[in-house]
Symmetry: C2
Subunit: 318 residues, 2 copies
């Protein structure tokens, strides 16, 4: 058994291995998961969670890396959670990227964690918020969550951030792709990366049009800014950070940050409750009850809804 | 409100519109869903359910169409459920394909139904078994369920058939792709389609090797046959039907068919029960309980697991 309080203390003191260990404990179905979560709870709430999403090829990882640098220049501790199969941080490594993130690998103020999506996309919506809690409790001022804007769960993760950044790049019919993937509804800040390429202005215009940014809004409404960047050269990245801070300030002013975090917590609680009920049902699979009901359904003696009613009744009785 | 008993009677009498209507009722969240399912239950169990899956481009739709012809020659009534975005039956049409299935479009012994996957893959594992029940109750002797072997839910649907056919085609590194998608574990019968192309023998050999078919097996174990076909010309299709019948006979001999159907029913019941519990939780979202818990979690006063416990306790009490 792991000494959870000691591990939490080490994580707070900035020991990356302790952070990694805690994330591993909350990612899986560790018997100490609940103990870890209970220990983390009072330490959370300090981190600002920024979701970054966009189609493959728009430069999410490069943008994430550039944002890390920008926040480090401000003296902030930064956590990165990469939920993106195309991310160079892939492979389960903490502090580990041998490509673009190498500049941050030896920086004790940066934690990097990748999360595999393969095979358990359903489990991602589950594991990501818990990993964010660890990074938050470990003292990160900002947690950047990078997801590829393709799968539904991944879009969901990004959209549950405090501020969600949607990245696009010129060409590739990205505007349309973005609309298809539903990511036009979730952005608080839009970034047109690779803005040195042809078509960057056209993409920004198209985006402006699709977002209806030209239209009148109620006073006080958030008007998502569109920022052009060349992340690989760091251009425009300061403007992105400014846009993020503006959005944060806007939300805090209105109490919107607290309500967004409450909504995120509500989803998290719901998912855990559903999983708990699901596992109670799975326990019944070992039991004869489900087997007997299934046999009757297979023979046509009972329909599956009536069988489910019987199962649920048995479950909630005790 | 629909007159369900009349609709069921019309479906039994071979009226395709009644079948289509019933499928629509069970696919969605119709208020009459339960009534329909209860009416269907005693009429089910007669259909033999064959799942067909494989990567895009292996010729699933052509093979399905050729199998329909083969079963029609035997005087069987056939249902087709196409859960494949690349299928020519796509678009929600019953009896509707203007391309390869046109030969069956006017055949009163064939029902064709396509199911969209886009946007609700999670809902597919849910809707497909219910649509199969309709086709079964409508008097189909065989139901062919065509899914693209890419998504997890789709593989799951195919693997829950009475007999699962995995299709491959020469080249394209299909063997490896199949292994990746996990479809090598689910096949009862393997088909190498487009066998007139170069590399068909190599694909069959690779498959034979990957399946470990050269290895010793316990006597009585099922040894998945590998059948080579050119579905577009109907070549080898009779051999596929023979392989399917051999597998069916093998399962019936051992009582394996009944237990496979029980397992399928158990999964169906579980899914419905989980959904029912999930919707009870969703009902609580309107309630103050979840909101209050979420607020405490967002503030760090409570961890989400403890909150979920409270939520579930409240749920099962009332």
């Amino acid at each position: 058994m792991v000494d959870v309080p000691a591990l939490v203390e080490q994580a707070r003191a900035g020991r990356p291995r302790a952070v990694a260990r805690l994330i591993s404990l909350v990612e899986g179905a560790s018997p100490q998961l609940r103990e870890v979560m209970a220990a983390l709870a009072p330490l959370t709430g300090g981190a600002y969670v920024v979701g970054l999403t966009g189609s493959p090829g728009v430069g999410k990882s490069t943008s994430t890396s550039a944002l890390v640098s920008a926040y480090r220049r401000r003296g902030k501790r930064v956590g990165v959670l990469a939920v993106d199969p195309s991310s160079p941080f892939s492979g389960g490594a903490l502090l580990g990227d041998r490509v673009r993130m190498s500049e941050h690998a030896s920086d004790p103020g940066v934690y990097i964690r990748s999360m595999a999506t393969r095979g358990h996309l359903g489990g991602l919506a589950w594991a990501a918020p818990q990993a964010i809690r660890v990074l938050d409790a470990a003292g990160c001022d900002v947690v950047l969550v990078e997801t590829v804007g393709v799968g539904q769960s991944e879009v969901e993760i990004a959209s549950e951030a405090d501020t969600t950044v949607v990245l696009l790049a010129p060409g590739m019919g990205d505007g349309i792709q973005a609309a298809k993937a539903g990511i036009l509804e979730i952005g608080d800040v839009y970034v047109v990366n690779k803005a040195d390429r042809d078509g960057a202005d056209a993409t920004a215009r198209e985006l402006n049009h699709m977002l209806g940014l030209g239209e009148a809004r109620a006073p006080g409404d958030w008007r998502p800014p569109i920022v052009k960047t060349v992340a690989a050269r760091g251009e425009g990245v300061e403007e992105v950070v400014e846009a993020l801070e503006k959005h944060r300030a806007w939300m805090e002013e209105r109490g919107a940050l607290a309500s967004r975090r409450s909504a995120r917590a509500a989803h998290e609680i719901e998912r855990i409750a559903v999983a708990a009920l699901r596992s109670r049902i799975a326990d019944l699979s070992g039991d004869r009850r489900l087997g007997a009901l299934a046999g009757r359904v297979a023979e046509g003696g009972l329909d599956p809804y009536a069988a489910a009613d019987e199962l649920v009744a048995g479950l909630t009785e005790g």
